[in-house]
């Protein structure tokens, strides 16, 4: 699989592109995507695109939020300027924005965000008819179902998140709890809270590392092309997650068996203890950066 990673500065872009990323994706804070981590200036973003082109890597602009109609012209101008500088494609979710792009004859390579909720081939076809050519699969789509979806639409590319780094308990875009780093200022994910149901303890059901490892293994066997590492404000943690993604991808490419791969994932994640980097929504700059 090829690795795509979300970045928020040209400094980060340089680090990941020189250390094995096949693609970077990003947003500008003024036209933010679904996540908060974003470039603060278009000039810095263009520097990242230029670097990626020099290194023959790809770049994607995330415009995967729902924007007010009055912002559409500025968003289109922004996307066009970046395309002129060498941007390879745009990550989208909103059919209204896609139609606006088409009406204004802007037809970049389009990637469906996980927020498109593509759980079947007919939803993929809906987006393909709007020009989408790569689909981000939700982690709650089973590999066997994904195989049938991909068979129904030959020629499209697919992306998965690294399940042991990002497997959300609830399905996007149908989770309405406030989230850390979001506009509400929440400080906790509702899916990680401890609840009481009468006298008994209750947790929202999550998955264990063996399940997550099997999922990654099966999607790799299925031929999913892209492995995605989410952008986040916490750069040291992002760097650690990137190393995990590169390492696990290497194990898969070398043909490790299913059981051995699962054991490796469990050993690696437990040994690394990603919690030591702090929450992903805490802003932590690039090590040694002046910011």
């Amino acid at each position: 699989m090829r690795i795509t990673i979300g970045v928020k500065s040209s400094e980060e872009a340089g680090y990941f592109l020189r250390n094995g990323a096949d693609e970077i994706y990003f947003s500008l804070s003024a036209a933010r995507g679904h996540r908060t981590a974003a470039f603060s200036s278009e000039a810095d973003l263009i520097a990242a695109i230029r670097l990626a082109r020099r290194l023959r890597r790809k770049t994607m602009l995330a415009l995967n939020a729902v924007y007010p109609r009055e912002n559409y012209p500025a968003i289109l101008d922004h996307a066009r300027r970046l395309t002129d500088k060498g941007l390879d494609g745009v990550i989208v979710r909103d059919p209204a924005l896609l139609e606006y792009f088409a009406d204004h004859d802007y037809r970049p390579y389009l990637v469906a965000s996980v927020l498109c909720a593509c759980f079947n081939s007919q939803t993929m076809e809906f987006y393909r008819d709007l020009g989408v050519r790569r689909f981000t699969l939700n982690s709650q789509v089973m590999p066997a179902d994904a195989a049938r979806m991909m068979a129904a639409l030959p020629g499209v590319e697919t992306v998965i998140f690294v399940p042991c780094l990002c497997l959300e308990a609830n399905i996007e875009p149908y989770c309405f709890f406030p989230y850390p780093g979001g506009p509400s200022g929440a400080c906790l994910h509702a899916c990680t809270l401890r609840y009481k149901c009468g006298a008994n303890a209750f947790r929202m059901v999550d998955t264990n590392l063996y399940y997550q490892a099997d999922l990654l293994y099966d999607f790799h066997k299925l031929g999913v092309e892209w492995l995605k590492v989410s952008r986040q404000p916490n750069t040291p943690k992002l760097m650690a997650e990137f190393k995990v993604a590169v390492f696990l991808n290497r194990l898969l490419e070398r043909g490790l068996g299913r059981a051995a791969f699962a054991a490796s994932v469990v050993e690696l994640i437990e040994r690394l203890d990603m919690n030591k980097f702090g929450p992903s929504y805490d802003f932590k700059p690039f090590p040694g950066s002046a910011r």
Partner: protein
């Protein structure tokens, strides 16, 4: 106002004709779980009890679930043309529009209206916001997304949508103020999250006999200043039926309190 009941196919035997006839409309299916989707046999059984064709309710569909819906629609197109379908999946809507345009009455379910305009929530404990009527909000809903109204109007026309559903007052007002589509309002539960990791099965399951039934779990956390509810494989907050001149159908979701619930854990889940 028309009174409607959401009826899970697995529970149709529990309701007799008298219980169902208290409602003007039976909505057969489930908006949140692929394991509780209706079959034609379920439709026929409910029709026999009530004398009316039930509204068929769908959810977010996996590929196999969509294939089962395709078979159901093929049978309905022959035997129940004009039946109302509550569509909660963009792919199902696309499919109906391609294969059966004009053969069914299409309603956009609440997952679809939320797809375009997600609701926004204040952080628990927030003092920042006020409710629609200027009072402290009970559920901390602060607004919705901003999918352009002209796009939504075009979308409703393109897919021949006659009715929309919601459980959110902001969404209700958006459709009431800007479209002429019929509006259903769901109560007493407003969606907060959907998952396939079901607490009643301890994780994701490919085969299920719906042990959840109508059970409603009341959840509390010291981090949330409102109670949360778990029903089937979705989480909710309580809401109230909004009486608005444009709402012509009130859709009631029945439930049974289940205070002594102990979570199941399957081999894929980490928590319990």
């Amino acid at each position: 106002m028309e009174k409607a009941l959401i009826l899970s196919p697995s529970l149709r035997a529990k309701y007799g004709a008298a219980a169902l006839k208290k409602y003007d409309t039976v909505c057969l299916g489930d908006e949140f779980c692929i394991h509780k989707q209706p079959s034609f046999a379920d439709l026929a059984a409910v029709k026999k009890l009530t004398g009316k064709t039930p509204v068929l309710v769908s959810t977010l569909l996996t590929e196999p679930a969509l294939e089962r819906w395709a078979a159901l629609l093929a049978e309905c197109a022959k035997k129940e043309p004009g039946a109302e379908i509550v569509v909660n999946d963009l792919g199902l809507l696309h499919f109906i529009n391609k294969k059966y345009r004009g053969r069914f009455r299409v309603t956009l379910g609440r997952l679809m209206t939320y797809f375009f305009d997600r609701k926004k929530m204040l952080a628990p404990g927030s003092e920042a916001g006020l409710g629609l009527e200027g009072e402290r909000p009970e559920t901390w809903e602060s607004g919705i997304d901003v999918t352009p109204v002209d796009y939504l109007k075009g979308f409703l026309k393109r897919y021949a949508v006659g009715r929309v559903e919601t459980d959110n007052e902001h969404l209700l007002r958006k459709y009431a103020d800007n479209t002429d589509v019929k509006i259903s309002f769901h109560y007493p539960l407003s969606l907060m999250a959907l998952t396939r990791f079901c607490p009643f099965k301890g994780g994701l399951t490919l085969d299920c006999k719906a042990p959840c039934g109508e059970r409603l779990l009341k959840l509390s956390s010291r981090h949330l200043d409102y109670p949360l509810y778990s029903k089937g494989n979705a989480y909710f907050v309580k809401n109230k039926l909004v009486k608005h001149p444009r709402v012509d159908r009130a859709v009631f979701t029945p439930s049974v309190n289940s205070p002594g619930f102990k979570m199941a854990i399957n081999e894929g889940s980490i928590r319990g």
